[in-house]
C-alpha cells in the first residue's frame, strides 16, 4: 500500500512537471531599482513583446561575459523583435553598490534591478548564476537556461525570433 501511494505521489509530481513545465507567470517578489524605488517582479511587461530575464552578479565572470556579448547586438535585437532584457543582480549588500558602477561603465542599456536578499532568485528557483529566462508576450515563462558558453547568445536570440514567429523553441 505504502509503495503504491509513493508511486502515485511520484507519478503525480512528475505529471505536474510535464504538464506544467513552462508557461507560468512571473512570480511576485520585491526588487530594487537603481533609483532606490521598489518594483514588483509580477508587473514586468513589454507591450506584448518578449522579455529576457537574466540573473547575474558583479562577481560572476560568465554572467558579465553573457551580458557583454548580448550588449553588442542588443540595439539590433530590440529593433527587429522588440525584445527587452531585464538583468537581475543577486549581489548582496557587500557588492550591490557596484551594480550601478558596473552597468554604467559597461554602458549596458538593460533594465536593471537588484534582488538584494535573493527573494526573486528563490521564487524563480535559480540555483546558480548565470540563469536566463525567456518570457513570452503574454507574460509566461517559456524557456530557461543555466550557465553561459560563448555563442549561447545566438541561440537565445534564435529562440526570441522563433517566439515572435510563433514557432517552437529550441532546447
Amino acid at each position: 500500500m505504502k509503495k503504491i501511494i509513493l508511486a502515485l505521489i511520484t507519478f503525480s509530481l512528475f505529471s505536474f512537471i510535464t504538464l506544467n513545465g513552462d508557461g507560468d507567470k512571473i512570480p511576485a517578489a520585491t526588487l530594487k531599482k537603481l533609483d532606490g524605488s521598489k518594483v514588483n517582479s509580477a508587473s514586468f511587461s513589454n507591450n506584448g513583446k518578449p522579455i529576457i530575464i537574466s540573473f547575474w552578479a558583479t562577481w560572476c565572470k560568465p554572467c558579465k561575459k553573457e551580458l557583454d556579448a548580448i550588449a553588442e547586438s542588443y540595439p539590433e535585437w530590440v529593433k527587429e523583435t522588440g525584445v527587452k532584457l531585464i538583468a537581475i543582480s543577486i549581489d548582496d549588500s557587500r557588492s550591490s553598490g557596484k551594480v550601478v558602477t558596473d552597468v554604467k561603465t559597461k554602458g549596458w542599456e538593460y533594465e536593471i534591478y537588484i534582488d538584494e536578499n535573493q527573494d526573486f532568485k528563490r521564487a524563480m528557483n535559480v540555483n546558480n548564476v548565470p540563469h536566463t529566462f525567456i518570457v513570452d508576450g503574454t507574460g509566461k515563462i517559456v524557456w530557461s537556461h543555466n550557465s553561459y558558453a560563448d555563442g549561447d547568445e545566438d541561440k537565445l536570440y534564435e529562440n526570441i525570433q522563433s517566439l515572435i514567429k510563433g514557432e517552437k523553441l529550441k532546447h
Partner: protein
C-alpha cells in the same frame, strides 16, 4: 494500526493528488503552478596523507536539497527537504540526517503581505538583521515565525517579524523580534517631489532578541536590542548611502562575555556615467556579533550581516586567502575606479577595453583596556580616531579587452596582505606570519567557432615571505602556480582541467600538484558535472557557471536542476 498510518499519510498527500488531477484536466494557470529545484553534491573520498586528506569511514558523502514551491495568484507556499548522508567534508558535522528544513506560506498584496514559516528578510544593508540561505556554504539562518509587510501609502514600507532561527535540524533558543520602516520621500510626496532629480530614501530598524539567563555566575541581559537608521540619496550619477546600528550590551562567546555596547557604521558613495565610474566605501564595526544564542559560534544563529568592504574575487589565486569581516572589531574601506576605453581608440581597439583599479584595506580597532569599578565588565574601549593592526589589504588592477571576433582576454595584478593570525585563526597571538603576496592572472578565450571556445587561465601567487610556519592547513605555503584549460565544444558540453601547484612550499615533500578534472553537461536549466581531484574553497566559475564551493578532494558528482 499500519493501515491507520497509511491512511493518515494518504490524507497528507491527498490534496497534492487532487491538485494534480484538476491540473491535468485544466492546464491553464488558474490552479496555480508548481516549480522547484534540486541539487546534489556527492563525493567519493580518498585518503591522502601528503595533502592532509583524512580517511573518511563512510567513503561516500552527499549533500542534497530540493525545493518545491506552489504559487497561485497572491498565494504562495513552499517546502525544502535537505539530506546529508553524511554531510560532506569541510561542513559542520551537526548537519546530520535528513528532513524538511524549510516550509512557508505567504499571501501578498501591496497593503498586506503575510508570511508564516521560514522567512528570509533583510533590513537595510543587514547590519541589524539578515536571514539568508546559501546552499553551497550550508548557510541558513532563516527565521521560523511570522512576518508582516505593509505598504499603507505609496513610498512607505513597514515590516515586522518574530521567530526563532534555524539551527541545523532544529531552532536556536533565542527569540528574535524586529521592525523596519522605510520611506521613499519622493514617492510619499509625489506631487511636490516626484519629478525632482534628487531621490531620498530614509529607513530605521529595531531588532531585539530574548534568551533566558541560567548562568550561575553572571547576570546576563535576557533582552538585547539593536537599533539604527539609514539614508540613501541618489542624484543623477551620484549615489550615497549610509547606515548606522547600535547594539546594547550583549555578553557572548564571541566577545568573551564583555558587557560593552556594540556599533556598526557603513557608508558608500559612488559616481557613474557612461564609460566611467568611481566608488568609495567605508565601514567601522565594533563588538557587533549579534546571535540569537549568546553561546553560539562559527556560522550559527547570526542575526545580522556585516558585509566585508573588500573585492570578492573569483580567480582561485586571488581568492586563496579571502577576507571576512571581523565581528569583534574592524575599520576598513575600499576605493574603485572603472573606465571603458571606447571603440576605435588606441587602447580600446576595434571592440573597446575595460580597466578596473581597486584598493581595499581592513584594520583592527585599537582596544584600550579599562578596569575601574563601573567599566570593568566591558574590558576595553575604542575611539573613532584610533586604528589598530593591519588585517588585510588588496590592491588590484584588472584589464579586459576583446582583440578580435575570436580572441578576448583579461589580465589581473594584485598585491595582498593577509593577517593569518586574525583572519584565519581569530587571535593576534597564534604565531603565524602574515602573508604578503603578488598575484598575477591571465585569462584568454579563443572562440574558434560561433559556439565553440577554449579558455586558458594562468595564475601565479608569489609570496614575499617564504619562511612561514607550516601546518596541516593547505593554504598559504609559499609560491603557487595555477593553470586551467576549459573546452566548450558547444553550448552543452564542457571539459576543464585544473592544476594548482604549490611549487614554492618550503617543505620540499609538500610541493604537490592539486589536479582537478571536470566534465559536465548543461541543458536548459539542468546541469551535471563530474570532477576528480582536489579543489580549494571559494567561488568557483567553471563551465560557464559560478558556484560557491568548499575545499574538497576525490570524485565529485554534482547535479543541479530547476523546473
Amino acid at each position: 494500526m499500519k493501515f491507520c498510518k497509511t491512511l493518515r499519510r494518504s490524507a497528507v498527500y491527498l490534496p497534492l493528488l487532487t491538485v494534480t488531477f484538476i491540473k491535468a484536466q485544466n492546464s491553464t494557470t488558474d490552479m496555480g503552478s508548481i516549480h522547484g529545484n534540486f541539487q546534489i553534491d556527492a563525493q567519493y573520498y580518498q585518503a591522502d596523507s601528503l595533502i592532509g586528506a583524512p580517511k573518511v569511514p563512510e567513503k561516500f558523502l552527499s549533500n542534497a536539497f530540493g525545493n518545491i514551491n506552489y504559487t497561485r495568484g497572491n498565494f504562495s507556499a513552499g517546502v525544502r527537504y535537505e539530506a546529508y548522508n553524511n554531510v560532506r567534508q569541510g561542513f559542520d558535522t551537526r548537519y546530520k540526517g535528513q528532513g524538511i528544513t524549510n516550509r512557508f506560506a505567504r499571501y501578498r498584496t501591496d497593503l498586506l503581505d503575510v508570511t508564516v514559516g521560514n522567512i528570509y528578510e533583510q533590513f537595510g544593508s543587514g547590519l541589524m538583521l539578515r536571514t539568508y540561505y546559501e546552499p553551497g556554504l550550508l548557510y541558513d539562518n532563516s527565521l521560523d515565525g511570522i512576518r508582516v509587510i505593509s505598504s499603507p501609502v505609496k513610498g512607505v514600507t513597514l515590516k515586522g517579524l518574530v521567530g526563532k532561527q534555524r539551527f541545523f535540524f532544529t531552532t536556536g533558543p533565542g527569540i528574535v523580534r524586529g521592525g523596519d520602516a522605510e520611506v521613499n520621500v519622493n514617492e510619499l510626496f509625489d506631487s511636490v517631489l516626484g519629478k525632482k532629480k534628487t531621490k531620498v530614501i530614509l529607513g530605521g530598524s529595531f531588532v531585539s532578541k530574548y534568551q533566558t539567563d541560567i548562568d550561575p555566575n553572571l547576570n546576563l541581559p535576557e533582552n538585547v536590542a539593536t537599533y539604527g537608521g539609514r539614508v540613501n540619496i541618489i542624484r543623477e550619477g551620484f549615489n550615497f548611502s549610509t547606515e548606522y546600528a547600535y547594539k546594547m550590551n550583549d555578553p557572548s562567546f564571541d566577545n568573551h562575555y564583555s558587557y560593552k555596547n556594540g556599533e556598526a557604521l557603513f557608508a558608500s558613495l559612488s559616481y557613474a556615467t557612461n564609460g566611467l565610474s568611481f566608488m568609495v566605501q567605508g565601514k567601522r564595526v565594533d563588538n557587533m556579533s549579534f546571535r540569537s544564542d549568546r553561546d553560539a559560534s562559527l556560522q550559527s544563529l547570526l542575526i545580522n550581516y556585516l558585509p566585508a568592504t573588500t573585492r570578492p574575487h573569483t580567480y582561485s589565486m586571488l581568492a586563496l586567502n579571502p577576507y571576512a569581516t571581523q565581528l569583534r572589531g574592524e575599520v576598513g574601506g575600499m576605493v574603485e575606479v572603472q573606465y571603458k576605453f571606447k571603440k576605435n581608440t588606441a587602447i580600446g581597439g576595434k571592440y573597446g577595453a575595460e580597466i578596473t583599479v581597486n584598493y581595499s584595506q581592513a584594520n583592527g580597532l585599537r582596544q584600550i583596556p579599562v578596569g575601574d569599578s563601573t567599566t570593568a565588565m566591558t574590558f576595553y574601549k575604542t575611539s573613532y580616531g584610533d586604528i589598530g593592526d593591519n588585517y588585510y589589504h588588496d590592491f588590484n588592477i584588472e584589464f579586459s579587452k576583446k582583440f578580435s571576433k575570436k580572441w578576448k582576454g583579461t589580465a589581473v595584478y594584485s598585491n595582498q596582505f593577509y593577517n593569518r593570525n586574525i583572519v584565519q585563526f581569530g587571535a593576534a597571538n597564534e604565531g603565524y606570519e602574515s602573508l604578503k603576496s603578488d598575484i598575477v592572472v591571465l585569462d584568454l578565450t579563443y572562440k574558434y567557432r560561433p559556439s565553440s571556445s577554449l579558455r586558458l587561465e594562468v595564475q601565479g601567487l608569489f609570496a614575499r615571505n617564504q619562511n612561514m610556519i607550516t601546518n596541516s592547513n593547505l593554504v598559504g605555503k609559499g609560491n603557487w602556480g595555477t593553470m586551467l584549460l576549459e573546452w566548450s565544444p558547444n553550448g552543452n558540453w564542457f571539459v576543464a582541467l585544473f592544476d594548482q601547484y604549490n611549487y614554492g612550499n618550503p617543505d620540499k615533500a609538500a610541493r604537490v600538484h592539486y589536479y582537478l578534472g571536470t566534465f559536465g553537461y548543461n541543458k536548459d536549466a539542468h546541469r551535471i558535472a563530474v570532477s576528480y581531484g582536489k579543489q580549494s574553497a571559494g567561488i568557483f566559475c567553471v563551465g560557464g557557471v559560478c558556484r560557491v564551493v568548499p575545499a574538497s578532494n576525490g570524485l565529485t558528482l554534482s547535479i543541479t536542476s530547476s523546473f
